[in-house]
């Protein structure tokens, strides 16, 4: 699937597609699964930007859907295409990982707001672990993108070659040094922020990483957007489950107000 960089922003929002066929299943590493789905006209009707998510029903025995960030999506005929990459974290994602090509999934989407990007802009994309896949979608939406990808170790690395194809610079960091530079993403991020002038830093990964990267971006005076996570029920803003504290004391919701937030509005100590 080639993502379409000229996707039109949707006017209508969210829909439920009960029968999304899995057209491709791959394993980018021993811990992760990538599924490419036919999603009807979901991308045409509800795409707002990279970083949105879909809410996938994971079998009959579990009440709640699983929110998973979109890696890349495209308008297509006869059906739009969308891919997600996820790790097995519990019974729901284990069920999802056991699906085969040709089977169908019940998908609610596209949900959330997505990153705000300008097609001419220069961006520094920072992804950590399973936060890396949505950054790949971002790589198609800017004028020029550099990427820093952080993983626990080499066995958890994913999409590195895909990023290398499309990004100007790709730096990899692993906690144990088994791939790329040893350490966290903040080292390479600071090196690139010193060297280049960016229109924005976009970040998805574990919360401590988001906090560190947003502090770094602030120090270099570059606007930073982060993708937040929280335990979620409805996915559409009705149940008010996935609340996150904002710096001004208010509560916002990951599913409806996010998942992408300006780093400056987030209460990082909350």
């Amino acid at each position: 699937m080639i993502p379409d960089e000229n996707l039109t922003k949707a006017v209508i929002s969210l829909q439920v597609e009960t029968s999304c066929k899995i057209v491709e299943k791959t394993c980018p590493n021993p811990h992760a699964v990538r599924l490419t789905l036919e999603v009807g006209d979901m991308v045409r009707t509800s795409y707002r930007g990279p970083g949105q998510f879909v809410h996938i029903k994971c079998g009959e025995g579990r009440l709640l859907r699983r929110p998973i960030s979109v890696c890349v999506c495209s308008e297509d005929e006869p059906s739009d295409l969308l891919s997600v990459v996820f790790e097995i974290r519990g019974a729901g994602t284990a069920w999802l990982a056991a699906r085969r090509e040709g089977e169908s999934l019940d998908v609610l989407g596209l949900l959330g707001n997505g990153f705000t990007m300008s097609p001419e802009g220069r961006y520094l994309l920072v992804g950590g672990g399973i936060g890396v896949p949505p950054m790949y979608g971002c790589a198609f939406c800017g004028g020029q993108c550099d990427a820093i990808l952080g993983f626990r170790d080499a066995s958890h690395a994913l999409l590195t070659e895909d990023f290398e194809e499309i990004c100007t610079t790709v730096a990899i960091a692993t906690e144990d040094g088994s791939l790329g530079k040893k350490g966290f993403v903040t080292g390479p991020a600071e090196a690139l922020l010193t060297k280049n002038r960016y229109d924005g830093v976009l970040c998805c990964g574990p919360r401590p990483m988001l906090k560190a990267v947003s502090a770094l971006a602030a120090r270099y005076g570059v606007p930073c957007q982060v993708s937040l996570e929280e335990r979620m029920a409805c996915g559409v803003g009705a149940c008010l489950g996935c609340a996150v504290s904002m710096a001004d004391g208010s509560m916002k919701h990951v599913c409806k107000d996010g998942p992408i937030f300006n780093a400056s509005e987030v209460d990082w100590n909350g």
Binding site: L63, E230, R231, V236, A238, G241, C242, V244
Partner: protein, 303 residues
């Protein structure tokens, strides 16, 4: 085709399927997916006199066939609801039930006056929220306090008053009789059951508030039993809720004694669940040759 219209304490519903408070916001979100006018009514997100930010996250924990929540009555406050949400809702053809929570009887009275004047169809007095410290559940577990709040709400409301009961009591019929005696026009039940889930690896409760309210299919049999008990104890109509996710579930609730039902957490799994419940309930009525869905209410034949 069976007649699906029902009457809940003088409020005409075009069908018995409503949305439970706290699961449907003010109708805007799911309104993007389907025409909410197909529902009989909506009980809006629980309102308080002033804006409430709600509890810290995590507020949600999945449990076997259910979920815990500890949202904590996050809402914009009754005045903001009347100014910004109610006008939008009133464009729709469905009963608007305003769910209210206060920390004193006076607060309940004040909200009843404002909401009656603003033109809601019914007020649902929440005396059973497990997730707030003041008021809430305390009113719902003591018959004399439940009666006091009901009486104050009745005195200030110009529309029918329904009282929402907590299942977290030893004898729910005692509370039901108390609120009926204080003038409640209808009773809704059940609110969520208090529960807890613990992460074995971190040894921390999943919810930041430690405990929360259980809902979803797991609670259906408890809800059906309690509706049945309350139906045997009072004469006022009952709005039955708790774990309904199919037409058969709704029919069970009505057979146990409910005049109408509310769907809640099922919509999180399947956003179209409320409409599916309605269609399936209609099909059951047709299959059983009923002229009206009302024939189900209280028609259980206990052994």
């Amino acid at each position: 085709m069976a007649d699906m219209r029902v009457n809940l304490a003088g409020v005409a519903l075009k069908n018995p399927v409503t949305m439970a408070s706290g699961t449907f916001g003010f109708g805007r979100e799911y309104g993007q997916l389907y025409d909410i006018d197909r529902l009989g009514g909506i009980s809006v997100k629980g309102l308080t006199p002033r804006l409430r930010a709600g509890n810290p996250s995590p507020r949600i924990a999945e449990t076997p066939m259910g979920m815990l929540n500890s949202v904590g009555l996050q809402n914009p406050g009754v005045d903001a609801f009347i100014a910004h949400e109610l006008p939008e809702l009133k464009k729709h053809d469905l009963a608007i039930i305003a769910n209210i929570s206060g920390s004193t009887p006076e607060e309940y009275g004040e909200m009843c006056e404002k909401l009656s004047a603003a033109g809601v169809d019914m007020i649902e007095v929440n005396i059973s929220c497990p997730n707030v410290k003041a008021g809430g559940l305390a009113y719902g577990t003591r018959p004399e306090l439940a009666a006091e709040v009901t009486a104050v709400a009745k005195a200030h409301a110009a529309v029918p008053v329904m009282v929402k009961l907590s299942p977290n009591v030893t004898d729910i019929t005692e509370i039901a009789r108390a609120v009926e005696g204080a003038g409640a026009d209808a009773i809704s039940l059940i609110n969520t059951l208090r529960g807890m889930a613990i992460d074995v690896n971190t040894r921390r409760p999943i919810l930041k508030m430690n405990t929360g309210g259980l809902s979803g299919p797991a609670v259906l049999p408890v809800a059906v039993r309690m509706v049945w008990e309350v139906a045997g104890a009072v004469k006022v109509p009952i709005l039955g809720m708790g774990g309904i996710s199919s037409g058969a579930d709704a029919a069970q609730m009505m057979l146990a004694g409910a005049s109408a039902v509310a769907v809640g957490a099922a919509a999180f799994a399947d956003p179209m669940a409320p409409l599916r419940v309605l269609e399936e309930l209609e099909a059951i009525c047709d299959r059983q040759g009923l002229h009206s869905v009302r024939a189900l209410t209280g028609a259980v034949q206990p052994w």
